[in-house]
């Protein structure tokens, strides 16, 4: 393989195909024309032409999140690169492996304020895991392979490779992926056995334990989720998952208490608050999960399993930190648990479960049903029912609809739920769904959206139609930026400043204008038919579900409050005003 002489642009494509890349999401421009020329002359790598570079990154994220592979993006210099920044930041926050190739002006023009020049490595330094500017053709093959290695190794993340145009034209010697060994980057994957022993001792002694899994479980591969489930069942301890972790443990299993955090379930949050042992796996104690940090699970010992040492002891003090790959750590714990025939205090565990059952009885996701207006929760429940037995993948935008989707759509396995957790990027869902549909051409891919979010990347309907990707966009249309409106109701005296969209497009006509199918439900009686039709159509569909405009998302931990101070419904809002301290929190 090595020794082959190629032009820089050909090397880029060769490196992609040697890295097992079969699809690239991109948008051409002056600086990357040589790569597009090289793409044109081959069949190994497929290119999906998006309509905006932000969408290219989100599509690659969706693809990466559902396959476990590295998602690849190709954009031009200047605006191409700056448009990609939101997507890169999103991928960094959610630890999604992405390689983003950006064009750059030729090396001799760098720094001259040339046409479509931007300091891409400077701009993307804080929003990538790592980035490279290729200054010599001799470095190109190594950097390409290193980029993939860095993106997928350890805690995954986005890597930018900035490619000046003269490098793409230059000729050099290509070398394959095997030839590249990174100088220094080797994250620890095998856990320290002493820590495993400490963790096992705590696990055996626990009276009120809980497992808390996050997106890292999914990043660690399917086996990690399986081992997590085995360990939860072997111990008979309860478990909860973060927004990013949904699917890592089957939602139908009685050990699952639902999602935790700001809009998590009453039982999950109370169990987190009252537990005496918390085992966090691939989760990062985000403020959306912990609520008020000083009141977070005050009486518990905490074990934290993470591949990234900087996640440990960042927000919350940890008693037993275990650095390593989740699958390897869980395997060691499971083996240790079985070998030691540890006998936890069954009586204590029984009483712990009975407390959990009491919390469960609150039925915290209950909402006021209506025959007059479609409740958004009801719409998702019906969608969930209608998609049973189908090979279904869900993406979301950001806001109330996202939280309702997380609460009411149940996931039995990983890789089926794609959402923007850390950055909270409106406009994520549609392009992400595009990437998921590319990965699973026969799958049923649904973007559960809000009418505000969807407009942020609506142009990708055009891409969906071009590639005949039958993504379904299920809009819960309440004409408001619902989560903004909910916070204004809670915190700002109901002054709905700029959260109402006074001129929305006709989504049915909009879908048709793009070449897709538009459907609308305004009455409860129409909902099931619209869902049925949406699922039956083999084209991109926008289903405009006109829902209750004033429904709020509950349960809710108001900002600045603790896990055991949840609002369960509108009746609680007035009773528990948000503290001044909480007001300033996001």
């Amino acid at each position: 393989m090595s020794g082959e002489r190629l032009a820089g642009a050909e090397m880029v494509i060769k490196a992609l195909s040697d890295q097992g890349v079969d699809v690239v999401f991109g948008y051409p421009g002056g600086a990357v024309l040589p790569i597009y020329d090289a793409l044109f002359k081959q069949n190994a790598v497929r290119h999906i032409l998006v309509r905006h570079e932000q969408a290219a990154v989100h599509a690659a994220e969706g693809y990466a999140r559902t396959t476990g592979k590295v998602g690849v993006v190709l954009v031009t210099s200047g605006p191409g690169a700056t448009n990609a920044v939101t997507g890169l930041t999103d991928a960094l926050m959610d630890s999604i492996p992405i390689v983003c190739l950006t064009g750059q002006v030729p090396t001799h023009l760098i720094g001259n304020d040339a046409f479509q020049e931007a300091d891409t490595t400077g701009i993307t330094r804080p929003c990538t895991k790592h980035n490279y500017l290729v200054k010599s053709i001799g470095d190109l093959p190594r950097i390409m392979h290193e980029a993939f290695y860095v993106a997928r190794t350890g805690r995954p993340g986005p890597v930018v490779v900035d490619l000046p145009k003269d490098i793409l034209f230059a000729t050099g010697e290509y070398s394959g992926p095997q030839s590249v060994v990174h100088k220094s980057y080797r994250p620890q994957t095998t856990p320290d056995p002493a820590r495993i022993e400490e963790a096992l001792a705590l696990l055996a002694a626990a009276k009120r334990p809980i497992f808390y899994g996050g997106g890292g479980l999914i990043n660690a591969g399917r086996r990690a989720s399986e081992l997590f489930a085995e360990l939860v069942r072997a111990t008979d301890y309860p478990c909860t998952l973060t927004l990013m972790g949904l699917g890592a443990f089957p939602a139908s299993d009685p050990h699952f208490l639902g999602m935790l955090g700001m809009h998590g379930t009453f039982e999950a949050n109370h169990a987190m608050h009252d537990c005496d042992l918390m085992v966090a796996v691939g989760a990062r104690f985000d403020d959306r999960v912990t609520g008020k940090i000083s009141a977070f699970s005050p009486g518990s010992k905490k074990i934290h399993i993470d591949i990234d040492p900087s996640s440990i002891n960042k927000n919350v003090r940890i008693d037993v930190p275990i650095v390593g790959d989740a699958a390897l750590v869980l395997e060691a714990l499971l083996t240790g648990w079985k070998a030691r025939k540890a006998k936890p205090d069954r009586a204590a565990l029984k009483s712990w479960w009975s407390r959990i059952e009491e919390w469960r009885k609150r039925d915290c996701l209950r909402y006021a049903r209506s025959n007059d207006v479609i409740k958004p929760q009801y719409a998702i429940e019906r969608l969930y029912k209608a998609t049973r037995g189908r090979d279904v993948y869900i993406t979301t935008e950001v806001g109330q609809h996202q939280m309702w989707a997380a609460q009411f759509f149940k996931f039995e396995e990983p890789y089926r739920w794609m959402t923007s957790g850390g950055l909270g990027t409106m406009g994520y869902g549609l392009p992400a769904a595009m990437g998921v549909q590319i990965a699973h051409p026969e799958g049923l891919v649904i973007d559960i959206a809000g009418e505000a979010s969807i407009l942020m990347n609506i142009q990708e309907m055009s891409t969906l139609c071009q590639y005949r990707l039958p993504v379904k966009v299920f809009i819960l249309n309440n004409e408001y930026m619902g989560m903004v409106r909910q916070w204004q109701e809670l915190l700002h005296g109901g002054r709905y400043s700029e959260s109402y969209t006074a001129a929305l497009p006709d989504f049915v006509k909009l879908a048709e204008a793009f070449g897709g199918v538009g459907l609308r439900a305004t009455k409860v009686s129409e909902l099931d038919d619209v869902i049925g039709e949406m699922l039956a159509v083999e084209k991109p569909v926008i289903a405009d579900i006109c829902v209750d405009k004033f429904e709020n998302c509950f349960p809710m931990i108001p900002s600045g409050a603790a896990h055991n101070e949840m609002l369960l419904g509108p009746q609680d809002e007035a009773r528990k005003p948000v503290s001044e301290e909480g007001m300033v929190l996001v």
């Binding site: 330094r125 790592h130 805690r155 220094s184 900087s310």
Partner: protein, 168 residues
């Protein structure tokens, strides 16, 4: 129940490549960590490595975060917290310009002698002193110079190395 703030000297071994300093500084500014001083220079030409010495302060949890975050940067090879890893030597160099005549000029020269500062430039109305030592020693000397016609100060920031035979 506020935790005490500690001052730590951290040595970081990094690939000597463009942007590495920006990465380190960006990490500190982006995450709101404190930099008291930072020095950097290539120290191993054969392996293309640079050594960065950072003096920072924070609670023990923040210091632990800083080290973990530094180690997360891909071109970082090693991070050592000299403050907790045992005895080490810290030195800083300062160039101190005095513009004075008469008794003040004589007094500054006399004090420089006591502090073992070297005169590296002299005119009839100025001196430049070179002084090496701990940060505290440099601070003390500069304070003494202030009323005597202190005109300019340039300091390197702290460089540090562990005592004994162990290497990085």
């Amino acid at each position: 129940m506020t935790e005490p703030v500690e001052r730590h000297t951290i040595a970081v071994l990094v690939d000597n490549e463009p942007g590495i300093l920006a990465r380190v500084i960006g990490l500190f500014s982006g995450r709101g960590y404190n930099i008291e001083s930072l020095t950097v220079a290539e120290t191993d030409r054969a392996n293309n490595l640079s050594r960065i010495t950072i003096v920072t302060s924070g609670t023990s949890m923040i210091i632990e975060q800083i080290k973990a975050q530094l180690l997360r940067l891909v071109p970082v090879h090693r991070v050592r917290d000299l403050t907790i890893e045992g005895p080490h030597v810290e030195r800083e160099l300062a160039l101190i310009k005095m513009a004075s005549t008469g008794p003040a000029r004589v007094e500054s020269l006399r004090l420089a002698d006591i502090f073992r500062a070297k005169v590296v430039d002299a005119t009839t109305e100025s001196f430049v002193f070179e002084l090496t030592g701990s940060t505290e020693k440099l601070n003390a000397f500069i304070t003494l110079m202030e009323p005597l016609g202190l005109a300019d100060v340039s300091r390197t920031g702290v460089v540090a190395i562990s005592r004994g035979p162990g290497s990085f």
